[in-house]
């Protein structure tokens, strides 16, 4: 087994003094795809936000190690430059800043040097085509007036541009029609290779089609209560969490 990319140990996270996660452990290695499922409000998005370094979430205990470095106290931009990426459920709208110039700035920040304009443009156009995005979106202000689907595609476009080591996708498929889900799945497939890893939060098996999922975790009661293989997705889709959670209880968590 290769060295772990992400190592979350005994994590305790609170929002406005309310504990959301407690005693959570998770290890992700390069090349792996992890799926995170669980009932609404269990704290799936909280985990992703805590790993990304969202200042609204207070880490009250435990540690987040990434690529051999302790990032528990680091700001979001440091984590991004280390190779962590989060696809947001509701991406922010930034008026006045075009998608293209934003992506170029971000790529420059993450890679430490500003990409050449022409090379960047060509690469961007290819990725946008892959995602069925109208080329005109490059000139539009970041997420401003984008439909829900376009916003999600713009998130995947950022994923493809920034090439992080760990990509966390927080319900990237929610609110998308069937075709858009397929396109997004294509984008994820194009991104994934043996050197990077994915942590996908989803309720929808569709987005996982064609991906070799290694682990499925069920998050409930502040931590991961059950971990299984890809077959778990189907089980949950068919029977809901109740059966799994009951099983988990029987196993003693």
């Amino acid at each position: 087994m290769s060295q772990a990319l992400l190592n979350v140990r005994d994590l305790k996270v609170a929002v406005e003094e309310k504990t959301i996660l407690d005693g959570l452990n998770l290890t992700v290695c390069p090349g792996e795809i992890h799926v995170l499922m669980g009932p609404n409000g269990a704290g799936k998005s909280t985990l992703a936000a805590a790993i990304m370094g969202d200042p609204r979430y207070t880490i009250e205990g435990g540690s987040i190690e990434f690529d051999g470095e302790d990032l528990t106290d680091k700001a979001a931009d440091v984590r991004a430059r280390k190779g962590i990426f989060l696809s947001f459920q509701t991406p922010q709208e930034i008026p006045g800043v075009s998608l293209e110039s934003f992506l170029r700035t971000a790529q420059g920040a993450v890679q430490g040097k500003q990409p050449k304009v022409m090379t960047f443009r060509r690469a961007l156009a290819e990725k946008m085509e892959l995602l069925n995005m109208d080329a005109a979106y490059a000139e539009r202000y970041l997420n401003v007036g984008f439909s829900g689907g376009e916003k999600k595609k713009a998130e995947i476009l950022q994923l493809l541009t920034l090439q992080p080591k760990l990509a966390m996708l927080d319900e990237t498929d929610s609110g998308l029609d069937v075709d858009a889900v397929k396109t997004v799945a294509e984008g994820i497939k194009a991104y994934h290779n043996e050197n990077n890893a994915l942590l996908i939060i989803t309720h929808n098996a569709k987005i996982l089609e064609g991906l070799d999922v290694n682990y499925v975790h069920v998050l409930d009661d502040h931590h991961i209560v059950y971990t299984g293989g890809p077959e778990l997705v189907e089980q949950i889709t068919a029977h809901g969490f109740a059966g799994i959670l009951k099983g988990a209880d029987e196993h003693g968590g």
């Binding site: 370094g53 700001a75 991004a80 922010q92 006045g96 800043v97 700035t105 971000a106 920034l162």
Partner: protein, 471 residues
Amino acid sequence: MADEVKKTQVEDIDRSFYDFRYEVNASFQTDAGLTPEIVKQISEEKNDPEWMREFRLKSLEIYNRTPLPNWGPSLEGLNMDGIVTYVRPNTEMQAKWADVPDDIKNTFERLGIPEAERASLAGVGAQYDSEVVYHNVKKEVLEQGVVYTDLESALKSDHAERIKEHFMHLVPPTDHKFAALHGAVWSGGSYVYVPKGVSVEIPLQSYFRLNAPGAGQFEHTLIIVEEGAYLHFIEGCSAPKYNVANLHAGCVEIYVGKNARVRYSTIENWSKNMYNLNTKRAVCEAGGTIEWVSGSFGSHTSCLYPMSVLKGEGARMEFTGITFAGNGQDLDTGAQVIHAAPNTSSHIVTKSIAKDGGVSNFRSAVAVTKDAKNSKSAVSCESLMLDERSRSDTIPVMDIACDRVDVGHEAKIGRISEEAVFYLMSRGLTEEDARALIVGGFAEPIAKELPLEYAVEMNNLIHLEMQGSIG
């Protein structure tokens, strides 16, 4: 020194009564005040025509009886009693590059402006450089019959009569105290004449011509654009201009002919000791268009509200402005428009940013007269507060005397969303860069109205201003 202090005190007491019954006291002048003799002397040195000499003296009378405005930013730091020192550049006022404050020098360096040019930007020396540039521009536009020269020379040319018919007709000396002061002591500036139907394709830039020592204080810009013609005039530059004296009371008058169009762009970045009390005004004949693009970054105190008089049917105005006030700055800016004919339209879009205890106010006046049937006006202003020590007031007024109008106004105030900062940081930007990017985006609607090199420099300025704004 002790004597001087005493004198100031006495005059201060005097002046508090002045504002109420100035007329009575108008004939009394202290030694420190502006006298007819001084104005006559200025006039003589400039070799003014007789009418101009009289005009200056009449303006002086108006100046002496007009009180300071009772609204707007405080002008307490302005030594009105020693006004002569602003008017009469003497040897002590000859600035040296070495005297230019460090923060301005640093800005030049960060903007990558070469040493030779820095000196000229600072308002000293290198005048011959400016002349060369000026002549080049002149040669290109001359071929179209355009006149672009300094106002003093124009007064002695065959345009003399035209100047007499237009000079301070739009901004009369009675307008306010500083307009009167300007009328009395104006010096330097530009005269532009664009004949009927001529479209000046390259923007004319006044900035190089402001460099002569002392010339930037009371310069007068007179622009006459005849029927169907087009002109883009750019005033100033994004590099800060340093002036030893700290009062700028310039005046800009623009006459837009029938179906003509004038765009007037300014990026003002005076050094931060400056009281910028500039008056700008345009009048549009039928079908004429005036477009203002205005950026205010510098100055200690600014009162700047370009006015557009839409005199002819179907005349239009557009105003796009941004004001960024930092520590110690009180920038009171905005726009005024008078709809005086049917089917006229105005559109005002502004952005205000305040940080580090700075004051960035938006002030506007939209007036629609009885005759302006079917006129439209839309005002939109947005303020961004970067911390809780700063101030941003929005003070718009509408005065409508006609029912067949469509007048709208919207204002918004807010801050940088922390969620947006986190989002950008999650993509690898530092907090500082994230904030600068958001502010840059906020300013983008103004930037895109500017010629590219100015837009780039404005963006640089925003980044400079945003540096060290965290923590």
